[in-house]
Assembly symmetry: C2
Homo-oligomer: 625 residues x 2
């Protein structure tokens, strides 16, 4: 698959964008006109730079408001087009995107549109240019890709074809199957963009909220499957207007973009393998059919079987050790060669890393996941352009395959075992032989705060590299603003990762208070007794206001003894049709705190109605003089 | 008018919110339930604190999903309601907001709804509570305020009335005139919110994008006029869910909120004076009619007649002096007693203030506006809670009335004169007797960068204090992201202020580059000759790329000699149905640059299509190694 990206997706100058695209490994780019107009590079310099960078200049865009106009306007439009064709010749480019008319069309007549497009195609032919005509979702008369295709068929000129843009097609819920009826030599270009499902006017949605494939909710693999079956083999190019990407680091966004196409390529191949074309026998031949577009595949991973460990870094580890001990964790010893400690409770393993910079408060530094094959999972992640994390190991120690997540958390891909033990624990203390007491305890979920400019990137990262599935997101009120919360999890809930997008902090003073901490939650079988034990050991619980329990009673009509127990132990409670959820939080050390949970029945959530209480109490304790 | 605000409008804890409301001068507040549930204050402590702060506790809200339910659910709902009534008695509160059912209603029958609301009213009566029933715009069966009112009429119980919320009414475009048919004793509460016109689902619109009155596009004065004519005289309370306000400084947002109600009160009185009730004679008696609600008025201002001056501050003023001289400004001397210089060109006056902190680069510090009466305008601004700016003056010097804008720019209200001169210029040098050469030059517009968290506040500030009119906003692409641009101007265009909301800079390095500068634009009669003179004097123009002129030609088919002149002088060009616009920019010093413009015909814009070019060239020059 030939990969491409429109320069409008990225921040910076045209030069910076082109360099970032080359570094990320794109085959070609679309030149968005405004990027050229505002650039100090001459067309010839752009051409040379692209050649030096190994980037094809695959599409010049957009040319707007051409068709369905009065004769006077047509004349002006042809003059305008010819100026652009001459410019393209200096750039060495041969394909231009012409969008269906939005602003100046006054005549709704396919015959007239076809004759005007024919004139344009003829003029384009004189300049060696191919016109890719695209139906905008908000085009005045032409807003449907099949309509655009009918016009191309009516004109029947070698220099006129169509451009298929997934946003304009999927935002309108047009059926994508008829894409296969378009002959491949009439599909001049394919643009892909994903988007969250939003109910707003389609123009605003398109201009501000598009995201890269895998970061939204469109069925892009199916769209691409139909494109492949149509016989198309040209560029598949990202055209993503996104307010955040336009402000983010250009090189990083380009890598995020490239990752989305690599992932889309794999998903498209999967869709094709699983969906036989209509009329063919569905006995597996579909997967072996050859199409002009070659789709590369990636090393396969299944979703992880569980958390292997969580690692917290601190300069001074005393508070952490105290907290874990109070929660019921046992100290299993220090590593033979590294400055790290192992603490366990059942199958929940926490590593305390003493190598943090002096004075740095405790922070979540790494997560280990149990996968079928660490080497294959690591190979996959690296093909998806995840940066590799290097860790020094001695000859007889287990080698961890590590990659760096968008928020810099280190992700280790570990060998899981059927009994839930981990071989590397032998490297600690006297060598562990069996899991410690509280055998049923596991890491239930981990909650990571994400920088706002890397939130969508993180969703795609965990989807593509770790096979976690994004759930519908929630917004939680806090005293500092709304917190966007995105759960990524495995189908069985064995791995649950919560990505929190905290509000931008307005002042340096607020930034110093890292209001939105990260946390690790441990699941136990009997939370009430775990909480009693922890209290007995002196644990400092997050103090839940009395008002909360009054409201809880109003909402759930709880048995008075049970309610009293909840309040006595600072436990939070939630209930839904599937089951019940009990949980408590510890005080915060550095930017980390811990949670302990009990899931009753098939409760699958995280106590979201209680999150505002947690945020408010934490805010209050940070801001109290 | 009794002023109020819901605690959900503000950031922070309940205690912080209450304190900020008291400081801003609100009469009362609505307790948003979540703020109480998450608070460590007991209901009795909240009651005492409110009394100490002089704040009424006017409404407890929201109580959701009550009506139109099955008998089982009704029983649970009545139990839930009674718990809240008991809580209200501890808070000393007597009014609760009940929203029309969204989630649990299954029976669409007004008879049933009325009987269930009657049970609720009866129970409320037992606890001394009044129920204000409100139709949510997205209520399952009840989403129209007239429908809610019909139910109240059917029940006919002293403890059941209705709550009117401007958002739920105006977002659905319901006619507001029938408000007058509701008897005043059945209107238990009135909530006001403004909003920009957005085409998105009404729930998201409501939860994220509400703004304070005067910051959006709703016809709130008319809404309030009908409420007043209905005979209502209770609280008028802000209920504004806004993502930005929820993250902003609580005291500042509370003052912004209070300003919006003061302004709305004045606008409502104006609407009443100008709109006689149907059936009455329209001979001015309307304005003299008395209603139970008393509406305070403000000192009146007309829109300013022009800019009096602009002031730029710098530690080292050499570059500024050079730039102004090259643009054609004349140095008129230093002030008798202050470290400031006066430069003029025609009626454009620029003050260079040498009192900036050492090493601070030049920045726009103050703007003077010509008003009919500086004292009256200042009194108005102060009643609108604008902070006063104090400047030292000697006995024989003109006293400037100064206020501080939300971005800290100092705004001076100056005495205009029919011939455009300013008396205070006598305090400079030898004493000026006449305007200098280039008599036609004036300050055309000033462009100020706004911090993102004070953008809406700034719109209301200039609307209410200076009588500038907000125009539809634009979004301009730049290499660092989209720039939101909001023009505020007088009806004759004599004063034009452009508020730019720059994208949040992601890294400290980017923040150090203040990419989005501010500028002052001067209008002249003949830009080409002004540019030639400036070039002759050695002015460093912002260099416009050659690609721009090619595109200009493709778009406008310009006369070749004219196009060559534009390119030779780095002039930008725009044209619309009203006229033409020529302009150029200087290089930037500190965070300031200058623009020179010529308006031909009735051109009323700012060359918006050229703004991306300006942003890109400025970005390029800042980021060039």
């Amino acid at each position: 698959m030939r990969t491409g990206i429109a320069t409008v997706c990225l921040s910076g100058t045209l030069k910076e964008k082109m360099q970032a695209c080359a570094i990320a490994g794109f085959d070609g780019i679309e030149i968005f006109e405004q990027d050229l107009v505002t650039s100090s590079l001459s067309p010839e310099e752009v051409r040379t730079m692209a050649a030096d960078l190994g980037l094809g200049l695959d599409l010049y865009q957009p040319f707007r408001d051409f068709d369905g106009v009065t004769p006077d306007l047509l004349k002006a439009n042809l003059r305008r087009a010819e100026a652009k064709f001459r410019l393209m010749s200096r750039l060495g480019m041969d394909t231009i995107l012409v969008c269906s008319n939005v602003a100046t069309a006054t005549i709704d007549d396919d015959g007239l549109r076809a004759s005007q497009l024919a004139e344009l195609a003829e003029l384009a032919g004189d300049h060696g240019v191919k016109v890719a005509y695209e139906a905008l979702a908000w085009g005045k008369y032409v807003n449907d890709y099949e309509h655009a295709h009918r016009l191309v068929e009516m004109v029947d000129h070698p220099n006129l074809g169509t451009c298929l843009d997934s946003f304009h097609i999927l935002s309108r819920d047009w059926d994508t199957a008829p894409i296969e009826n378009i002959s491949a030599d009439k599909i001049f270009f394919v643009q892909v963009a994903d988007a969250p499902k939003l109910s707003m006017d389609v123009l605003s949605w398109s201009r501000h909220y598009r995201v890269f494939p895998g970061e939204g909710q469109f069925e892009l693999a199916k769209f691409m499957g139909h494109v492949v079956r149509a016989g198309y083999s040209g560029p598949v190019s990202l055209e993503v207007f996104n307010d955040v990407f336009r402000q983010s680091d250009v090189e990083r966004t380009a890598v995020d973009a490239m990752r989305s196409l690599i992932w889309l390529e794999e998903q498209s191949a999967k869709w094709l393998a699983g969906n036989a074309p209509e009329g063919s026998t569905a006995n597996g031949t579909a997967s072996r059919r050859r199409y002009p577009m070659e789709l590369a595949t990636l090393p396969k991973v299944n979703e992880p079987a569980g958390f292997n460990f969580a690692e917290v870094k601190a300069a001074d580890t005393a508070q952490l050790e105290k907290l874990l001990g109070q929660l019921g964790f046992a100290f299993e010893g220090r590593h033979r060669t590294k400055d790290v400690q192992l603490w366990t409770m059942g199958q929940a393993r926490v590593i305390i890393n003493e190598q943090a910079p002096t004075h740095a408060g405790p922070a979540i530094a790494a997560l280990g996941f149990d996968v079928d094959s660490p080497v294959i999972a690591s190979a996959r992640a690296q093909q998806l352009k995840a940066p590799v994390v290097a860790r020094k190991v001695q000859a007889d120690e287990e080698v961890f395959q590590g990659i760096s997540a968008p928020d810099s958390t280190e992700i280790f891909l570990c060998q899981g075992s059927p009994d839930g033990t981990a071989a590397w624990t032998q490297e600690f203390g006297e060598g562990l032989e069996h899991p410690s007491a509280g055998a049923a305890a596991v890491i239930d979920h981990v909650n990571l705060a994400q920088p706002w400019q890397h939130f969508d990137e993180a969703v795609l990262f965990y989807t593509s590299a770790l096979a976690l599935e994004p759930q519908p997101f929630a917004e939680v009120p806090s005293p500092s603003g709304l917190v966007r919360s995105q759960v990524m999890q495995t189908s069985d809930g064995a791995v649950r990762l919560v990505l929190n997008l905290a509000p931008v902090q307005q002042s340096p003073a607020q930034q110093a208070h890292k209001t939105y901490q990260e946390h690790i939650a441990f699941a136990v079988d009997d939370l009430v007794s775990a909480a009693r034990s922890a209290r007995h050991r002196g644990l400092e619980f997050l103090q839940i206001p009395a008002n909360y329990y009054e409201d809880l009673d109003a909402r759930f009509d709880l048995e008075p003894g049970f309610l009293a127990t909840l309040q006595e132990l600072n436990l939070l409670y939630d209930r839904d049709a599937d089951g019940e959820f009990l949980h408590f939080y510890t005080a915060t050390v550095g930017s980390v705190f811990f949670e302990m949970v009990e899931r009753r029945g098939s409760y699958d959530g995280y106590g979201a109605p209680n999150a505002p209480v947690r945020h408010a109490v934490q805010y209050d304790s940070l801001h109290r003089p």
